[in-house]
Amino acid sequence: MPEPFETHLDMTEALAPAAGGGGPVAASGADTLQGGGPPRTPRRLPWRRPFRPGGGLPGSSRGLWSDAWHDLRRNPVFIVSALVILFLVTVAIWPQLIADGNPYQGDLSKAQEGPAPGHPFGYDLQGRDVYTRTVYGARASITVGICATAGAALLGSVLGGLAGFFGGWWDALLSRLADVFFGIPILLGGLVFLSVVTSGSVWPVVGFIVLLGWPQISRIARGSVVTVKQHDYVQAARALGASSGRTLLRHIAPNAVAPVIVVATIALGTYIALEATLSFLGVGLKPPTVSWGIDISSASSQIRNAPHMLLWPAGALSLTVLAFIMLGDAVRDALDPKLR
């Protein structure tokens, strides 16, 4: 579903435009990266696997998760994007590791100057080091992305999962509520909401993304739970007298969570882009917070004189979003056997 990125991608509506109907196929909109590569060795689907007492040969009776992990370790796309993300998270926590300057310290006499020894990316309008600011900008984007995704995924999967499991009026009410939130393009809602909340910290932005992002996850979670609920092992658990809570937590949740993880990973990238867009429009994060969106916004008016001011933070932002989207793509390939 889009917008969102703007959309609503949505932008936020991630790489899963066809998932709007709440179908169980998480992200059929985008295709796999190596969709057409040489056919890999066919693997038995987990539920078709013959039962082997005593575990059988090592590696021959893997579950969905170890199976997916086995797959991911051999996927170059996954390895590259995971390394990039690991690097970004490290830099977000300890920016001093690779940048020893001060992102707030400027020297006006060097305003807009190009690269110089020790300052590989040049200086911005206030004479601050663009390299240091680009490194420090990772923190805001990564914080917003991870916190917003965690919040939206938790809220969405709890609400959607309960709705799918219990059905009835609660389900109907939740679906209508999700429709209401879907009726507002996410960027539009963000502009309105954040323009009245005047704090410039990351938390209003995170709260807003959770507020408009959960319906997407809840639709996926609901569809997934509805599908899993009909499987025989759930009937068996019920027949053996398992309570609703136990059935939901021990039997349904582990089998229904895969599509949610996939959509959430891809959404993480689009949330980072959304935060930057809102900061660019002047309603998201505000100075003195160091953010790529703010830096790009202030550099965009000077692009004729000093393109380097814009290109470095923009490149860092695009690379971050790309890494998360590719990670989601790889995880989807590993978790969804249907796409093979």
């Binding site: 889009p2 917008e3 979003v321």
Partner: protein, 307 residues
């Protein structure tokens, strides 16, 4: 068919009320429209109370909402910050944004479907892999970055297109902004078409068509493409929302005086009638677009019948 449309229209009413109330709540309850009228200065309490009474702002929120919606449906959207009626802003802005959206949709549909079919038919070859990789990169670059960079390169450095748009905004000037607006959706359209073509290429009816000895272009255009376009059309309905949101960014970069520009001005000056009025119309457009897409479904796929 008629009953289905009626049912869908009735279902839209609670969604419409919910969405507009949410926006109304954000603007009128979280913000302060009267304080915004005075800018940085503190309003005189007596004057503020008078304005509050005149604008019904001293009543509870739900009654403000009912009053506002009553006025909207009688054609009165209130007054913008510069004293112009909001309806006047709308008649100026909507045609411009409509033209921009048309450019974006035509661009993403024409190029996206073509690229999607080409790479879907050559699954696994070099073209396919590079198209897939390219779409991921395009998705990862936010609109405001691609817009600014393309404006600089195409508009300023190479001088191929005007870098900003005049208030009349003819189609020729909207080409570059339209491309920027449709860029991210283009990537989605391409991937969606490709997936759909790859799936359908294995279908029985394609094998039948090949066995009948039909020429290849006929199989692709008449059999494969028609069936592969169904998910793409669904995406288009959802995409309208994304395009309307993206228009705020694109119109700001290229100085286009459309819906996004007016909305941005309204938000910047905290002018509540402008914001709520424009958003209300956009929500209606979005809901109607989705209904239209669902009806188009039945045209494209005869298996779907609406009782």
């Amino acid at each position: 068919m008629g009953r289905y449309v009626l049912r869908r229209l009735l279902q839209m009413i609670p969604v419409f009320i919910g969405s507009t109330f949410l926006i109304f709540f954000m603007v009128y309850a979280l913000g302060d429209p009267v304080a915004a009228l005075f800018g940085d200065k503190a309003p005189d309490p007596a004057t503020a109370a008078r304005i509050r009474k005149d604008l019904y702002l001293d009543e509870p929120l739900w009654s403000q909402y009912v009053h506002y919606m009553g006025q909207v449906f009688s054609g009165d959207f209130g007054t913008a910050f510069n004293g112009q009626p909001v309806t006047e802003l709308m008649t100026g802005a909507f045609p411009v944004t409509l033209r921009l959206t048309v450019v974006a949709v035509v661009f993403e549909m024409a190029l996206g479907v073509t690229l999607g079919v080409l790479s879907g038919l050559r699954r696994g070859r070099g073209l396919d892999t590079s198209v897939l990789l390219l779409t991921l990169v395009v998705v990862a670059i936010p609109t405001f970055v691609s817009g600014t960079v393309l404006q600089f390169l195409v508009g300023v450095r190479w001088g191929l297109a005007p870098p900003s748009v005049s208030p009349e905004a003819p189609f020729t000037q909207l080409l570059l902004p339209g491309v920027v607006l449709g860029l991210v959706s283009l990537a989605y359209t391409t991937r969606l078409t490709r997936t759909s073509v790859v799936e359908n290429a294995r279908a029985d009816y394609v094998r039948t068509a090949v066995a009948k000895g039909l020429p290849r272009h006929r199989i692709v255009t008449r059999h494969l493409l028609r069936n592969s376009l169904i998910p793409v059309v669904t995406f288009l309905g959802i995409d309208i929302g994304a395009l309307m949101g993206g228009a705020i960014v694109t119109e700001r970069i290229f100085n286009i005086h459309g819906v996004g520009y007016q909305l941005y001005q309204g938000i910047l000056r905290q002018n509540s009638p402008t914001v709520v009025g424009f958003v209300t119309i956009l929500v209606i457009v979005f809901l109607l677009a989705n209904l239209l897409v669902d009806l188009l479904y039945a045209v494209l796929d005869p298996r779907i019948r609406y009782a």
